[in-house]
Symmetry: C2
Subunit: 504 residues, 2 copies
């Protein structure tokens, strides 16, 4: 019965076998177990081995030790014996055997009624997310590569951050800073004030689990009880999904080349989310007149404006455009940014500047459910910004992205000049390319490109209202100039392929 | 007008001054700006300086460059001029001046209507959280210290994790793993199977932003639309708050010494949250008979059982009790755990084993809004577990905590034996202490202790239904045995203080 060469200790084997016998009903409630010494002799083990097993089972409520009367199987288990046939003890212990499924014993009737119905709202399926193919030349948005990144410097920041925290100078050992690492908030506030002209009071700045984390909290603070949100169309399916998953109804407002047309906003929305610095994904900047019009619209309706400023730092010409939030005098803009696009997505760190009167409820929500990233990464970022490394990195990133974009525009002109057109843009991490040859849709080209090891992203995948399927996005965050050129060569071959016919 | 020694470049000074003049209405829409060369001469700067400033303002929509006709202030701004008096341009640039508030100019009428009404549900105020006093001997729950922690080993794990990720062998550079780092999920699944006897299929295991993150998602997946959740009373105010912040109604069921009495569960709840391995905060284990009764109850009602297993690993005697989830054959237990208590809270990393049919919606919610912690920390944890360091650390932690608890029990007996009683418990990170002297409440003692540099936590602060204010919690995660002894000496002095009278 006992396996003396197994890794599982003997007391544990005894315990598991008794447990299984009780769960299976072979040992009945109230039954007396063998005395410790007698049982130990019978099994050929030391008395302490049996005692250890009995103690553990008593702690779990299987056994009921009665001083002077020995050890009984717990009488409380009587009720459970009625259903004994339905439940199966399963092998447990130090091996993967603990994970086996139903044992399939004949005659078992396993009840499996449903759990409370699941709320399946939320997921959307942007183009290719469903079975995202792995390709060598990946021009889809949504990831980056660390080839333009100061690896060594970041590694030192992480190391220093951990030492800070391990020495007790920080928040690692405490739950008490839901709004984020104090040093990071100070450094980031100063950065946002100088680079984004934002009103970045430290007391209003919170660190979140990416931009999505910041938006999820906004949904709970402002958009409960059937309130609706206006969003740009096309817009980011990822950020829109964040609201949808929280049950927020969306109104999709088609953008023009100056962003969201304020006079087309529906009357019944409580908030609007915009990307004024660089419209995602179509590109373009919201000019000052429209910004002021948007703030007036919000003031008239007591509405909230959510400024998604995620792409603002990737402006190659001049400096970054000032934020909308910095123009606002009335505290009606929630400013949201992220480090995912300019550092790396795995950092999962974003931030929000919260209008003053809502700071309390916003932080309460953050504390209740959606705290920001880990202490080490927050502190490392604080050091990275404080040392000037962040702005140095942004400079290198802008230069690299400008070079990549130029390589992309040039390659498209050379390889596909008769089929597509693309105008260089002064910022962002992707280009919008337009198919001028009316015989092929962007979706068709994307489909043809996959066998050539190239992935592109049709713009229509980011649109709610149907738009002509003529444009696609080419993200260059993941590819070097030589790779971009090679990818475009292959894309040109894909475009020249004869359309494949469906086989009936 | 231009400051030639300022850090702000000249083109930027020109740009800011023009911007302010336009926003303030001193330069009107349609007005022509000076020609570039003339303006440059006037200012004593190079032409390129003026060009740079004009280009930036044109990109923002302030200026309208007309080839051959010079540069005009944008005519689109006419509408905005109506409100010009109300808005103030504010100083901007490289200094803190960018953060100044309303400028207070006489005659301004600043409209400040409300934003959409804020949802202020959610926050609770556990004892002392509101103005948490800093004391030297802090016995309150909710934080730990890193003195029992393999600092050097963890540092190496972090370093190795970053190198893994920087080399591209991981998820840092991608958004594509909402359920968490694959290596961590594999290691953690094996650990939970061997140590918690859980059915820990990797496909059902997700990494979350702490236990709170896991519960927030559960609320959205299962507890929408007015569904109610039963919780233990007393219970964790922090975890209850997570549900309340999501709008979930709670039913508080008073526990007895075997945890939640299943026959007292109300009929109208869709789910119940329990701490069967070690009731938080009262202590005690739910025996096997009641566990089976709870699973039967859930099966009959198609209800969800949430197993909060957060304190299970801190069992000093025998091995950890097997999880409730491991007993369940029907997939109706959501198992939730955290590393915050056994490593450090700043890690903000928890996990859940999700019932199979709900994995899709659960991960969709995770992806939409509440992804887990950063890539570095996830990968470092994976290495920490894989190398056996996690289990080694748990062993040291259990030994340290047992020693601390013994020191605490002994000190209480010696210093306060006539006033309080405390029985040693076989696990957890705090002791429940009972005041036997009926003349003093636990809240009164907590209040008296603060001037003696000691903080304790009345149990009543974790209770929903009123309970006698006779018990308090003493957490020993933050204090070494010598500190525990010194803290108890001071607590004894506090107990001997005459009650302070309120001064009228």
């Amino acid at each position: 019965m006992l396996d003396r060469v197994a890794a599982t200790p003997l007391y544990r084997q005894i315990e598991l076998q008794l447990r299984d016998a009780i769960l299976a009903g072979r040992l009945r409630p109230g039954a007396a177990l063998p005395g410790i010494r007698a049982f130990a002799r019978e099994l050929g083990v030391a008395a302490i081995t049996v005692i250890t097993a009995y103690d553990q089972l008593a702690a779990e409520g299987f056994l009921d030790p009665r001083p002077g009367r020995g050890t009984l199987v717990s009488a409380d288990l009587a009720a459970m014996q009625r259903d004994a046939g339905r439940r199966r003890a399963r092998p447990r212990g130090g091996t993967a055997a603990g994970r086996v499924g139903p044992d399939g014993t004949a005659g078992d009737t396993v009840r499996r009624p449903a759990l409370p119905a699941v709320n399946a709202r939320g997921p959307v399926t942007p183009f290719f997310t469903d079975g995202w193919p792995i390709v060598r030349f990946d021009f889809r948005t949504g990831a980056t590569r660390l080839d333009v990144f100061p690896n060594r410097i970041w590694e030192r920041c992480i190391q220093a951050a951990w030492r800070d925290l391990a020495m007790g100078h920080g928040s690692a050992t405490s739950y008490l800073e839901p709004e984020g690492d104090a040093l990071l908030r100070r450094e980031l506030a100063a950065y946002l004030a100088r680079s984004r002209a934002a009103h970045a009071d430290e007391g209003q700045l919170v660190i979140t689990a990416g931009a999505q984390g910041a938006l999820a909290i906004a949904a709970r603070v402002w958009l409960r009880e059937g309130r609706r949100l206006a969003v740009e169309d096309p817009g980011s399916p990822y950020l829109q999904r964040t609201f949808r998953a929280q049950g927020v109804g969306l109104e999709h407002v088609p953008v023009d080349d100056r962003g969201l047309p304020v006079d087309r906003l529906p009357g019944d929305v409580a908030a609007v989310m915009v990307t004024p610095s660089w419209q995602y994904p179509s590109g373009g900047t919201m000019p000052i007149a429209r910004r002021l019009q948007l703030l007036d619209w919000a003031a008239e309706r007591s509405a909230l404006v959510i400024e998604d400023d995620c792409d603002s730092e990737l402006r190659y010409e001049g400096h970054s455009l000032p934020s909308l939030q910095g123009l606002d005098q009335d505290g009606r803009v929630l400013y949201v940014g992220t480090f995912s696009k300019v550092l790396y997505p795995g950092l999962r760190t974003g931030y929000a500047i919260v209008p003053q009167p809502a700071v309390g409820p916003y932080v309460a929500q953050l504390e209740a459910a959606a705290r920001g990233p880990g202490a080490i990464e927050q502190r490392a970022l604080a050091r990275f910004i404080a040392d000037g490394q962040f702005e140095r990195h942004l400079g290198r990133l802008r230069a690299a992205f400008a070079e990549r974009q130029a390589a992309l525009v040039e390659a498209l002109e050379r390889e596909l000049g008769r089929v597509v057109s693309a105008a260089a843009a002064p910022g962002g991490s992707h280009l919008v390319v337009r198919i001028e040859d009316g015989r092929m849709t962007a979706t068709e080209l994307a489909r043809r490109a996959i066998p050539h090891d190239v992935a592109i992203e049709p713009l229509a995948g980011s649109a709610h209202h149907p738009i002509p399927d003529r444009e696609f996005l080419m993200h260059y965050g993941r590819l070097r100039p030589d790779e971009i050129r090679a990818g475009v060569e292959r894309l040109a071959r894909a475009a020249a392929d004869r359309p494949r016919r469906a086989i009936a």
